[in-house]
């Protein structure tokens, strides 16, 4: 088959166009180098269909006709996305725990002179001072004030625990409620599903929309466990935590749903605030400390249970209800009631460093240990998340050096295509304007 004289022009033009598009893609990458969740793109160049030409020897040869950009490829490793999301869930979980426990720990103000441990020591000292002058009204008053301080300190810590619990509940409600993060992310994913599906049906690859959707899934995975099912047509199903129905199924959103142990930030919030959860068990520990203290003092202050108790409390909410039940007149320092007798005061002083003090120390150690674990878990999860993020960036991130190299490469390609076109032009000029004019 003979070929047109002008094929070369067309081939050069294709080269110019393809390089133009490659440079456009490079410039898109550079522009989005700092865009969150962006994956670098690549113009996929492919040779166009060759002409079959008969060569001089009668064989058929393939004459190349140039290049075309077949599509724009998004460079991303979906396996790394899975790892990233699993780790983001861990980070969400540990981070939330350490933030919440941090508040609990602050409320303790231990170790220090304002903590309950110091208040208890002062309380025992109050009894010792009273044992030195059992009929001294000032010593009695001092003891009662100190006992009230102890009760108030316990109440403050208990209130702070309740506050942390209700804050966690409020945060959970804000995240999962109407207009909360879960719902708005789910709605956006459903919308993107619809758009991506449509483009895919037209044979298009909507890279930037897919990046946007992946970014939303990353955010969602911080809140709870996320698992994604590819529906094959560009759309996805998203299962969320332990919700019964997928959160997003193609373009349908099912929310709100009940979660019990979804993992991630929501899982941690549930764990902390639920009935019998972390805060409740701290409060039970604290109640036990208060109950032990009050009972130990009362049984010595009121042997046989016929007289006045020193402390009053409501069973089940000991820390919140602890109060001092005696006045300066009714504090008992001795069984005999003699002015100088102090057997009861001495016995109560003897409780110093005993079970109530030990239980309280255990309570503080438990919270400190839990927080330390959460902090360690948080920093571990962050290190892992960072390393996965690095690997992801290594695949999908924009490298300026690479883009600049590509820019030079494509610019040179463009220049060379232009040069072949002008060479072609000169040849045609020779052919058209300078041929057959011999002798003119």
């Amino acid at each position: 088959m003979p070929i047109s004289t002008f094929v070369g022009l067309q081939t050069s033009l294709r080269g110019l166009l393809a390089h133009q598009q490659a440079i456009d893609t490079t410039s898109h990458n550079v522009a989005n180098a700092n865009t969150d969740g962006y994956s670098r793109q690549e113009a996929v160049m492919d040779p166009t269909e060759a002409f079959q030409v008969t060569t001089g020897t009668g064989n058929v040869g393939h004459l190349g006709t140039g290049v075309t950009v077949e599509g724009y490829r998004r460079i991303r490793d979906s396996f790394l996305d899975l790892q990233y999301r699993a780790q983001a869930m861990q980070v969400g979980d540990q981070e939330t725990r350490s933030t919440q426990l941090d508040q609990v720990e602050l409320a303790l103000s231990e170790p220090g002179d304002n903590g309950i441990a110091s208040q208890l020591a002062q309380f025992w000292n109050g009894w010792a001072d009273l044992s030195n002058s059992p009929d001294d009204v000032a010593a009695r008053q001092a003891l009662i004030e100190q006992a009230k301080n102890v009760a108030a300190s316990f109440k403050t810590v208990d209130t702070q625990l309740t506050t942390v619990k209700s804050q966690a509940t409020a945060e959970y409600t804000a995240l999962t409620g109407p207009g909360g993060d879960v719902e708005s992310i789910a709605n956006e994913i459903a919308k993107l599903n619809g758009a991506i599906k449509q483009f895919k049906a037209n044979g298009d690859s909507p890279n930037d929309l897919m990046d946007r959707r992946d970014n939303l899934l990353d955010k969602l995975s911080n809140l709870a466990q996320v698992s994604v099912t590819d529906l094959g047509n560009g759309s996805i199903d998203v299962a969320f935590g332990d919700a019964a129905t997928p959160l997003v199924s193609d373009t349908t959103v099912t929310w709100p749903q009940t979660l019990t142990a979804p993992g991630g930030k929501l899982g941690a919030l549930i764990d902390i605030a639920k009935t019998g959860g972390t805060i409740d068990s701290y409060r039970a520990d604290l109640d036990n400390v208060v109950k032990t203290l009050a009972d130990a003092v009362n049984v010595l202050h009121n042997p046989g249970g016929t007289g006045t108790n020193f402390f009053n409390y409501t069973a089940g909410s000991e820390a919140a209800t602890l109060s001092v039940a005696v006045t300066t007149a009714t504090v008992r320092t001795s069984t005999s009631g003699a002015a100088g007798a102090n057997d009861i005061a001495l016995a109560i002083t003897g409780l110093r460093g005993g079970t109530p003090d030990k239980l309280y120390t255990g309570f503080v150690t438990r919270i400190g240990g839990d927080l330390k674990n959460a902090q360690r878990g948080e920093s571990n999860a962050n290190v892992l998340l960072n390393s996965i993020q690095d690997r992801r960036q290594s695949t999908s991130g924009v490298s300026m050096d690479e883009e600049m190299t590509n820019l030079v490469r494509f610019q040179r390609g463009y220049q060379a295509s232009a040069r072949t076109m002008s060479t072609m032009d000169q040849m045609l000029d020779t052919l058209i304007n300078r041929t057959g004019i011999v002798g003119l």
């Binding site: 100088g340 001495l346 003090d357 120390t361 400190g368 290594s394 991130g397 600049m404």
Partner: protein, 304 residues
């Protein structure tokens, strides 16, 4: 496949490292300014529990030292009262010996008897010694004077022990019960000090030969027995004072060593903290410098 290094990777890792170094720096700074190794339970949960129980122990030890001070003061009040009583009894003994001598006339005996009556009142006065508003010889009835000066000789307190706690589970009796030395007077006929002194006074006043004999024999003997009892009580008080003194110095040592233990657990090692700080600071600075160099450079700087 070799790893591609992208701009955002570099800037993120530089940022992460800077964050980590500055976090460490701020913790060290906190340690330096507070002087504490443990400022919150999560810094060291086990150390915190040690610190809390050590603090309780220290507060207790300080309280025991206060109690020892109280008990010592109580002992010294008791001892000085007993010493005054001893003096009075010795004077009464001299008077009795003089009065019992046959050469003494009835007038001199009467004078001796009335001086002894005065001595009885002063003995009761001494027995009413108090410390901090508490009568030390009344047993636990510390708000009641043990004897009525100018009144009957009967003991008004009780015979219970007054104890002070001077260590964990260690208490010591600080009082001497007045009635064990002074008794309840003539009416009770208990042979105690007041009874004997009243007898001597009566025997001096009556002036019969039989009474003079009783004075010489039984009364002086009883008086010596009581004097011995008082000396013995003073010896007990002295021994208790010694015990309290040694307890005090032991408690001081315990407090010192507990404070040192607490400091080991809770306080920052300043030399180490300063070294850490300057090391971390230089790490931070070099990280900043390296970061500024790396982040700026790219192929862009070399393409013209």
């Amino acid at each position: 496949m070799s790893t591609r290094i992208t701009g955002s990777m570099i800037s993120r890792s530089v940022l992460n490292d800077l964050n980590e170094v500055s976090q460490r720096l701020s913790r060290t700074q906190q340690r330096m300014s507070s002087g504490k190794q443990i400022t919150r339970p999560s810094d060291d949960p086990y150390g915190t529990s040690r610190a809390l129980s050590l603090r309780t122990d220290i507060a207790g030890t300080q309280q025991y030292q206060r109690n020892v001070g109280e008990a010592t003061a109580w002992q010294s009040v008791t001892d000085s009262a007993l010493s005054k009583i001893t003096e009075a009894v010795q004077r009464a003994r001299d008077l009795a010996v003089q009065g019992a001598s046959d050469s003494a006339g009835q007038a001199a005996r009467n004078a001796a008897a009335s001086e002894i009556d005065q001595l009885i009142e002063s003995v009761k006065q001494e027995a009413n010694a108090s410390y901090g508003g508490h009568y030390v010889f009344s047993g636990t009835a510390t708000s009641t004077a043990p004897y009525a000066v100018g009144g009957a000789d009967s003991y008004l307190g009780d015979s219970a022990a007054v104890a002070r706690e001077i260590g964990p589970g260690v208490s010591v009796q600080v009082n001497v019960v007045g009635s064990s030395l002074l008794g309840n007077g003539q009416a009770a006929a208990d042979g105690k000090l007041l009874n004997v002194l009243r007898d001597i006074s009566a025997h001096l006043k009556s002036g019969t030969v039989a009474d003079a004999n009783t004075l010489r024999t039984t009364d002086l003997k009883s008086l010596d027995t009581n004097l011995d009892a008082i000396s013995q009580a003073r010896a007990t008080v002295g021994a208790t004072t010694n015990r309290l003194e040694s307890a005090d110095s032991r408690l001081q040592e315990v407090e010192e060593s507990l404070t040192k233990l607490l400091s080991d657990v809770e306080d920052a090692d300043m030399a180490k903290t300063y070294t850490d700080f300057s090391m971390q600071q230089s790490v931070y600075q070099s990280a900043l410098r390296a970061g500024s160099n790396i982040v700026q450079q790219s192929l862009l700087d070399f393409l013209r």
